[in-house]
């Protein structure tokens, strides 16, 4: 009724109203574009600065030129041979592989239980998952270290990989549970009638359907393990066990107190590269995954 009543009034001023609205939207778009462009340049410049510095001679690093002259390609070789970066890379790759595999498999299995099976106590344990999500890690850091040192795991990769197999990060459990709940229950029922066990339903029906969410968790877990600094710092003391992140910090010790910026930028760029590649390869899933974690307020 009311829409009919307002119709004539809007028809009268409609065209100019629409016109000014469209103009305002256009202006807003142009202003937004300018701000986003300037901000985008600010956000991106550090990468170019890093690349530029990494190709300069040490005496030129404070020279404001963007294009290095001469281009010191040797920096990369020198930086990466100044410490056993091959070993650091191998260690990081091993830890990352086992941490990612553990996170993806165990978080998926646990999420399946919370999302698609009914069992007494389920809601209680899911509450525990949510509580653990916001639990500050600082309260478990020291007693965990004490536990791992008592069972002789300090100076091994185990403290960095085994926890991933025990449910992994609760954030991943939460994220996968949200996704699994969206898969129609009929699929599981039909499979049960056909005689499939839960393990088979999980592995052959749910896992393939949840590929985007699993991809997101894989990427998150990869970055988490690759970029982790604190756990390796606490648990890995032998230089032969160092990860790339720990290896990088050996730079500050060299050069008689003056940081070797050209080498540091070269080595840092190499360490960042795998994460950047994975980011671009999996960007779609990544963004979906972040979105999924924030859906619930």
């Amino acid at each position: 009724m009311s829409t009919i009543a307002t119709q004539p009034a809007r028809a009268l001023t409609g065209s100019s109203w629409q016109h000014s609205k469209r103009r305002r939207a256009l202006i807003a778009r142009i202003v937004a574009l300018i701000i986003l462009l300037l901000g985008g340049i600010l956000f991106f410049m550090p990468f170019l600065y890093m690349l530029s510095t990494s190709l300069k001679l040490q005496k030129d690093v404070f020279n404001p030129n963007w294009i290095p002259h001469p281009i010191a390609w040797n920096n990369y070789k020198d930086a990466l041979t100044s410490a056993p970066f091959g070993t650091y890379f191998k260690n990081t790759a091993i830890i990352t592989f086992f941490a990612v595999a553990g996170n993806v498999l165990s978080a998926s299995l646990v999420a399946y239980s919370f999302a698609r099976l009914r069992w007494p106590g389920r809601d209680f344990w899911f509450g525990v998952v949510l509580a653990t999500m916001i639990l500050p890690g600082i309260v478990t850091m020291i007693p965990r270290y004490i536990l791992f040192s008592k069972i002789g795991w300090v100076n091994t990769f185990l403290p960095l990989t085994v926890p991933a197999w025990l449910g992994g990060s609760t954030l991943y459990i939460f994220l996968l549970r949200q996704f699994y709940r969206g898969i129609p229950m009929d699929l599981s029922e039909a499979a049960r009638i056909d005689g499939a066990g839960e393990l088979r339903i999980w592995w052959q029906i749910i896992m393939p359907l949840a590929r985007p969410a699993l991809a997101a968790v894989t990427i998150f877990a990869f970055n988490g393990a690759w970029d982790d600094y604190m756990d390796p710092l606490i648990y890995l003391h032998d230089e032969s066990l160092y990860t790339l992140q720990l290896g990088l910090t050996t730079f500050k010790a060299g050069g008689g107190g003056v940081p070797e910026w050209h080498w540091m930028m070269a080595a840092s760029l190499v360490v960042l590269l795998p994460v950047v590649i994975i980011f671009f390869a999996g960007q779609k899933y990544f963004i979906e995954g972040v979105t999924l974690t924030g859906i619930k307020g």
């Binding site: 939207a25 239980s113 600094y229 730079f251 994460v275 980011f279």
Partner: protein
Amino acid sequence: MAGVAVSTPHKTYKRPWLTQTRREAAYGYLFALPFIIGFLALTLGPMIFSLYASFTKYNIVSAPEWTGLDNYQTIFQYDDTFRIALKNTFFYVIVKTPLAIALSLFLAILLNLENLPFKRIFRTVYYLPSVLTGVAAVFLWVWVLNPEGLLNRGLSLLHIPGPNWFYDPNWSKPGLIVMAMWYIGTPMLIFLAGLNGIPQQLYEAAEIDGAGTIRKFWSVTIPLLSPTIFYLVVTNIIGAFQVFTSAYVVSNTAGSAPGDPAQSLLFYEIYLYQRAFQHLEMGYACALAWILFAIVMVITGFQLWLAKRWVYYES
């Protein structure tokens, strides 16, 4: 048939013990077991032990020695470093959190405009830094914020004299906060998802009622986004209280000891790390951890209480 069944009760059809319900429950427990074991062994157990250890003197090698409230008393009465660490941490939380939330919301609103060109490219550029969190990215920022680095060079083009950032105790925390702004991509994406969920009709209805842009922002966007804002404020504050890697690596790169320059980057978790792993005072460090935990819980609880007043849930 019925008569036969009654005369031979042992042959009646009995429900199998393992019903579908029971089978499902058994699998439910089994599949959740990794988490349950992990929680008990790596979270709850350690927390209980840590609470006990906080009342002892303990260096891992010898057995814990019960000292009652000594650790807590020392911390609150005599520990000046604790006070510095707490002050630094609060400064970081209070300045960084609102800045990060406001800036990421602002970016999300711009990116959410209809028919904005290059939307995906912008989203990528602003989100990319968020995945680069290790030592390499900290090195990059120590270099960008070098007294003669990229940022100060840019400021000098605008005739603004740049500070010495990580080499000046008054500017080191602001420097760390500038660096933290590079990581607002994650809240930005979460805000974008929240903005996507606001029905367009609400804006149209507000327009017909004569609401302008600012009015629409405060009366439509903010209330409907309030659960997202709440979630991000809570998680960002908890995260900011535990700042470690960036400050630790900055101190060791620009200065020579954790907390440099002049203890201005000595944050709570760095102090705790020093007490635990450099001085092996595990009991004392556990007490420190529980104090921070209590502070974070009180603040989170307060926010939950406050949320009832301002967070708007549709249902």
